[in-house]
């Protein structure tokens, strides 16, 4: 890499830092409020069109939700001011580690490896 590139890179790095700081200062992310059941249902409908929800649990902190749809568990997690969703086998969700009020799900996906959902208890009564 030559000197000209190094100077250009340093300038660009400084510009990136400035822009990120400006974006943080502006506070113009999408407004996020804790998920309600209705909002969770709407998000699941967008993520998994046509899938009926047999049961739905919204996390204590409102930052995620889990739904049962037949033999699948549909998982929704907050990411910044958006969400990521995946589905895993229901039996896997029921058997997942639950400790100190946090359900840890292995989503087996490189782009979303794990989900952590805050619940009072897990699994729900009669879930299996």
């Amino acid at each position: 890499m030559d000197k000209q590139f190094a100077i250009q890179f340093a300038g660009s790095f400084a510009a990136v830092a400035l822009l990120v700081a400006l974006a943080a200062w502006a506070k113009i992310a999408k407004p996020m409020s804790p998920l309600s059941e209705a909002r969770a249902r709407a998000l699941f409908a967008d993520e998994f069109p046509g899938r009926a929800l047999d049961a739905l649990w919204v996390t204590n902190d409102g930052r995620g939700a889990l739904a049962r749809s037949g033999a699948s568990a549909l998982v929704l997690c907050e990411v910044g001011d958006g969400y990521a969703a995946r589905h895993i086998p229901w039996a896997q969700a029921v058997a997942a580690s639950f400790r100190d009020g946090v359900l840890k799900l292995d989503l087996a996906d490189v782009s979303a490896p794990r989900a952590r959902l805050a619940f009072d208890s897990w699994p729900p009564a009669g879930a299996a």
Binding site: F13, V16, L19, V20, P49, V79, G80, G82, A84, A112
Partner: protein, 309 residues
């Protein structure tokens, strides 16, 4: 003019314009003059990807340049860089090449792996435009431009026109601009057309591949107008669960490697590599085509609820 080395790089020259317009978009949004959103971590990831793509370009661009020069040295015609007709011709031919490059980058997983990072933001603002690939050089899509060098367009001319196209495509990554005049929307790629391209709504998937001219989508049947009744939802079909820049840059490559490791035949391996994104041997995963078909089927049902209450 040196046919081998571009006298200027449009992208480098445009960097101050990129910075100033992002500042403007943030400021106008902050003071509620336009509608847009910036999330800090998302912005950092987008701009970090842009910065990293510069470095990646330096590291992997040499092969592309060498191949272009070699092909041009075996050209069919001598096309002068000083002729206006040559610039008009390369404007259209480069843009047509870009259309097919972009379509390939969406419809075949190997090249999608290099392009997916550009679509991985759930935001659509000017910083998203800079969320550029780190692995495009390795994916080899630059080879699609070699026929233009073989025709006789000098490498410097190709580099300049590719840069102009990239700079043009910056300003269309915004929600701050609604629709351009009708004549402009008919011919050129616009914020409205490109919002559709970045949307993950099934109806909008795999459409509007244009670089500068939207005419190619109209010609090849991939044009989809933005509809008032369907607001674009941005991102990818399966959004990422973090802002980790390495995950953004390489997640689809890692997914391919994992699938290849589990392949049971050459056919399966080829499907995972060159099938459409989401292809699987048993059809258990979603592709754009299956999502669109499912959406169309749902639309055809009278009063179909998406989700049972």
């Amino acid at each position: 003019m040196d046919p081998l080395k571009a006298q200027f790089d449009p992208v480098t020259l445009a960097i101050p314009f990129f910075v100033l317009t992002i500042i403007l978009e943030i400021a106008l949004t902050r003071f509620k003059a336009v509608k847009s959103h910036y999330e800090t971590k998302d912005t950092m990831t987008s701009l970090g990807m842009g910065l990293g793509s510069n470095v990646a370009g330096v590291l992997t661009g040499g092969a592309a340049v060498a191949a272009t020069v070699w092909v041009w040295q075996h050209r069919v015609f001598d096309i002068p860089m000083t002729a206006i007709w040559a610039w008009v011709a390369i404007f259209f031919l480069e843009d047509l090449t870009y259309y097919w490059f972009h379509r390939l980058s969406h419809e075949r997983r190997f090249w999608w792996a290099a392009h997916v990072n550009h679509h991985s933001s759930q935001h659509y603002n000017l910083s998203t435009a800079l969320r550029q690939t780190w692995t495009g050089g390795l994916a080899g899509t630059w080879a699609l431009w070699l026929p233009l060098a073989f025709l006789g367009f000098p490498p410097a001319m190709l580099a300049i026109q590719k840069g102009i196209s990239l700079v043009y495509q910056f300003w269309i990554h915004t929600e701050a601009i609604g629709r351009m005049p009708k004549w402009f929307e008919a011919v050129f790629n616009t914020p409205s057309h490109h919002r559709v391209h970045h949307a993950r709504n099934p109806r909008y998937l795999d459409s509007n591949y244009a670089g500068i001219l939207i005419i190619w989508d109209r010609l090849f049947g991939t044009f989809q107008p933005e509809l008032d009744e369907e607001t674009p939802r941005y991102g990818i079909v399966k959004n990422l669960s973090s802002f980790n820049i390495l995950r953004v840059a390489f997640h689809e490559w890692a997914g391919i490697a994992k699938d290849l490791a589990g392949s049971r035949s050459l056919r399966e391996a080829a499907g995972y590599l060159f099938g459409p994104p989401g292809w699987s041997p048993d059809g258990s995963r979603d592709t754009s085509a299956t999502l669109k078909a499912q959406w169309a089927a749902d639309q055809a049902k009278p009063n179909s609820p998406d989700v049972a209450a």
